[in-house]
């Protein structure tokens, strides 16, 4: 398979990464090189093989429904790019 410039632009949009026209061209080449490497997988017959998501067969732990963390809002917001009245500020999305 081979990615097109249009597909690269689309996934860059999905990933919220701005790419310039020249970057997109270079990226197509690099990504296609990587996908050539990945293609070796496609020749393998894996019918009946259970997908392995994780190295250990773990069940998700449950915990008591109780407050476990202290309020550290001030410390966490002290490093934010822009805050006001305890809220994170972003550009207006609703006019």
């Amino acid at each position: 398979m081979s990615l097109t410039l249009e597909q690269v632009r689309r996934i860059a949009h999905l990933a919220r990464i701005e790419v310039s026209a020249t970057e997109a061209e270079a990226t197509v080449g690099h990504l296609n090189g990587i996908f050539q490497l990945i293609e070796a997988m496609q020749a393998v017959d894996t019918r009946g093989v259970e997908p392995m998501a994780h190295a250990q067969d773990l069940a998700q732990r449950l915990r008591e429904d109780a407050v476990s963390e202290p309020d550290r809002r001030l410390a966490f917001q002290a490093i934010a790019p822009e805050i006001e009245a305890g809220l994170y500020l972003v550009p207006r999305v609703i006019e």
């Binding site: 392995m52 773990l58 972003v90």
Partner: protein
């Protein structure tokens, strides 16, 4: 550990050549204080780091304050075996009050408001002193340390060459004696490959043994922190300070904590070493292979026997990894959006534009490539062909190891197919760079423990370059792996070699 060292001080090696056990004894005997020892290393970092670029951040005041607290603990008689020993932390571990960048511009202003569990265990509980935060490939994505926003690390054995990656700053710092030991993280070889290229010992533990809480996530089902030091014995002591159940990490394993140093001296008589034919075929530098063969002969002298085994799907580990790791990375790195912390683009037109510009400016080229691969393989219509297929191959790879361990106790082979390469040699070709990890990646996919230990040198253009041997064990066999490496290190002195001019 106190009182075991009876040799007089003058018979001991220089402080920077001492093992952690020897440093612990020197601190206990008041031969040196933690403040003096920390000062000695801070002075070396100030003087020598510009040559290697191994550290991103040093904060002498904080380090010395920790050392004073350690000295007080030693004076009060409630010191642990590592209290007062300074170490370097990979800049992937969130450290409260310290700049924690993960080698990225997008975190270049991130002073962590909390400690990773590894940081809390090692510094608050064990009383180790933090010397600084080490340089690394951006978000641990690289095998040469060239993707760091803070510039490449240089290999202390030859400053025109890479130290390996992604824990290259940690490896270089230990090799150049800028720290007695360090931490690393290993997603596809990031502890073992730089350990091999810099002539140090590094262990990637069984997945789930070391908490990932506060360890900035790259590929969550593969990432695992571990020790990097000059010997297996040092790694055993450090590992004991890093492991243990952590309720903050949903994949942390609830197991009793182990004493990894207790079995170091166990005999190797009767040990069966598996040699996978796939690790001894084409694709490895013959001089690297010769050093590994010499190590095998040494193991036979120590009482081990070898048996041929096979990992028939190991050639698929790099392809499967470059689906699974980018998929997890694209999801993990979506949190870096310029809203709650880190870099935000100075100019943008609306919210989407702010995200897109922040991420375009904040991430380097390799990180962007992996996010894009991940977004693609997870996208509608491609998920089954790529992501599910990779997970099925992951199962085949894990099954290969399970079958091999029916015939052997540990698996041995080279860590890296070549010694340290020149800076820039593979930087333009991602695929060539990815193939640096052909012997290490399968271990992460299976979640097994493995270590790299120095086993010789090759000569390239008159320069001596270190070679590492890799030992892979079954789940939870860290103590055995460290024992197998320790007995080798008692019989050889490769791990004691240091770059010239230190």
């Amino acid at each position: 550990m106190r009182g075991e060292e009876s040799a007089p001080a003058h018979a001991m090696p220089h402080m920077i050549e001492r093992s952690l056990k020897e440093l612990s004894a020197a601190l206990a005997a008041r031969e040196i204080s933690s403040v003096e020892l920390t000062g000695l290393y801070l002075e070396r970092i100030t003087r020598l780091n510009p040559e290697y670029n191994a550290f991103i951040t040093v904060d002498p005041e904080t380090s010395l304050a920790q050392a004073r607290a350690a000295d007080a603990r030693i004076a009060a008689g409630n010191a642990g075996p590592l209290t007062g020993i300074p170490i370097a932390q990979k800049d992937i571990f969130c450290t409260e009050g310290w700049l924690t960048t993960c080698g990225s511009k997008i975190l270049s202003n991130f002073v962590s408001p909390y400690d990773a569990t590894v940081i809390r265990r090692m510094h608050e509980e064990a009383g180790l002193v933090c010397l600084g935060k080490t340089n690394m490939d951006e978000f641990a994505m690289g095998s040469s340390n060239e993707t760091s926003f803070y510039g490449p690390v240089r290999n202390p054995w030859d400053v025109t060459r890479v130290p390996g990656g992604s824990s290259g700053g940690s490896a270089a710092a230990v090799a150049a004696r800028l720290a007695p030991a360090a931490t690393g993280t290993d997603t596809g070889g990031s502890i073992r490959q730089p350990a091999a290229l810099c002539c140090i010992t590094g262990l990637k533990p069984t997945y789930g043994l070391v908490s990932r809480y506060g360890m900035i996530a790259f590929a969550s089902s593969l990432d695992q922190g571990g020790p990097m030091a000059r010997s297996a014995e040092d790694c055993a002591l450090l590992l004991a300070s890093m492991t243990g159940f952590d309720a903050h990490d949903s994949t942390s394993l609830d197991r009793p904590r182990e004493d990894y140093a207790g079995d170091l001296d166990r005999t190797l008589d009767g040990l069966t070493i598996g040699l996978p034919k796939e690790f001894f075929g084409e694709g490895c530098d013959p001089a690297v292979m010769a050093a590994v063969r010499t190590a095998i002969a040494q193991y036979e002298k120590l009482g081990a026997r070898t048996v041929d085994v096979s990992l028939p799907n190991s050639h698929l580990s790099v392809p499967a990894y470059y689906v699974i790791a980018p998929a997890e990375a694209s999801s993990n790195l979506s949190r870096f959006d310029g809203v709650r912390y880190g870099y935000r683009a100075p100019e943008y037109s609306d919210l989407n534009d702010m995200y897109a510009k922040t991420r375009a400016q904040g991430f380097g080229a390799e990180v962007k490539r992996r996010i894009l691969i991940g977004a693609y393989v997870l996208s509608h219509g491609y998920y089954d062909a790529y992501y599910l297929q990779a997970q099925r191959i992951r199962r085949l790879i894990a099954d290969d190891f399970a079958a091999a361990f029916k015939h052997c106790d540990v698996i041995l082979g080279p860590t890296s197919p070549s010694p340290a390469f020149k800076l820039g040699a593979k930087a333009a070709d991602p695929v060539q760079m990815y193939l640096s990890d052909i012997y290490t990646i399968a271990v992460n996919l299976a979640g097994l423990p493995a270590l790299s230990a120095p086993c010789g040198f090759v000569s390239e253009g008159g320069t001596r370059l270190p070679v590492g041997l890799q030992l892979i064990g079954n789940y939870f066999s860290e103590a055995r792996l460290l024992n197998v490496a320790h007995r080798y290190q008692q019989a050889t002195d490769w791990h004691r070699q240091a770059p010239e001019g230190l």
